[in-house]
Amino acid sequence: MSEPNKKLTIEELQYLTRFAADNDSHVFIKDLNICKTKCEEKVCTIVCPAEAYKWEGDRMFVGYEGCHECGSCRISCPYDNIEWRYPKGGKGIIFRLA
């Protein structure tokens, strides 16, 4: 059943970890227009370790449910365009081991 030498997809990786998703997101794009008209690099879609940021159609979507709450997106957004806070107490990712 286990194949450690197979490259794991982000879905398989995220499946390993426990989350207590809140009903509402804790992370927001401040101005969707900036992503649409100004930002070419879309760094958030690359550096997020949960691949939470997805550009679909003509806007950015944030899959907050899988967020590791690391802060990489907020820090690396070249336009400071991410409203970032922690999820509600007890919500969000729940590490069991490391």
Partner: protein, 430 residues
Amino acid sequence: MAEKFDVIVVGCGPAGTSAAYILAKAGLNVIMIERGEYPGAKNVMGGILYRYPLEEIVPEFLAEAPLERPIVEQNLWILNKDSVIKTGYRGLEWAEAPHNNFTVFRAKFDQWYAKKAVEQGALLITETVVTEVIVEDGRVKGVKTDRPDGILYANIVILADGVNSLLAKQLGFHKEIKPSDVALATLEVINLSSEKIEDRFNLEPNQGATIEVFGDSTKGMMGTGFIYTNKESISIGVGALLSDLAKNHQRPHDLLEDFKQHRIIRKLIEGGEPKEYLAHLIPEGGYHAIPKLFGHGVMVVGDAAQLVNGIHREGSNLAMMSGKLAAETAILANEVNDYSENILSNYQQSLMGSFVGQDLKKYKDATHLLATHPEYFNIYFPMLSKAASEMLTVDGDSKWKKQKNVINMVRERGIYRTARDLFRLGRVMK
């Protein structure tokens, strides 16, 4: 209903809990506020925990704390696409109590550690986010939380809220963190039987090993891969400077998966079953990235103060030390009933005088040099490997000729340039 405490500690990681433990033990009225379901739920570490200064704070930790393996061997590998140069030290002195350092699981360790603080009399509330520090007349008076009526007052607030350090930012103690001042690390815990671990790493039961892997683990980016042995699992991860990941369009988890697949790495974890996937930021800015550490009624400790020695992969021990020193300053302030900067400056003084400040000063230019000079990773590491291969391969060429080949390799780079680069590296390390 606003309660008043002597000290509010925000965050129950190693820094916060160390502070709370010492404060409670000294009889102060302290409350610990943790946003996770339990202490450790939001924390990630490779993770290597050090005996010092934990032993100074909780001498009985060895008998009680949930520790994985005491480390007897620490290795440093320079990995290229199809070669590795290995260095390391195994010291059997570390196999005996009190040992030197241990692998731990933070979700388990932090819970135990917080429980010790509670035993000393600290109050612990979980599942509560501190959303704001309350400031009146330029003095910190307490905190606002995300609980209804969740306002708490205290003479001193100790901010131990982790690398993102949002609360210190609110106070203006630092600007937004720069992508070149943090590393993004991803890590997997992979189950493997203790027998397999002991076979592969040449260990006795209750012995552990660590490997820090430079070079191809991070595809030449500034950072390191690591492989740590737990009791019945391996923690394997990679961290690289966030700015480098962005610049190279490198997804952090792809980097980890590639590292796991490397022909020289993969057999170490073969047959193992991934059990958890975690990501976290690690402060890498060193001495120059330390924010303002105190104000009227407030001190900043641990990762929130960017106290990580990336060269030695030490963070949790610096965190504990900073928590301890902040607590001692708070006790002093409490004695003289003065919570202003005049008294709290004591914390910065003792921190900078301790190994924490000394070590961060020692390496203050090292991360910057490595981050801005990719040739150390991209040119010199492969060169070292080629030199080793040349000298060790027997193919009929005389050793003199081989030596000449190696010198020509250096000549290609430039003898003067190489000497200058080595000199520079030596200078930032010393």
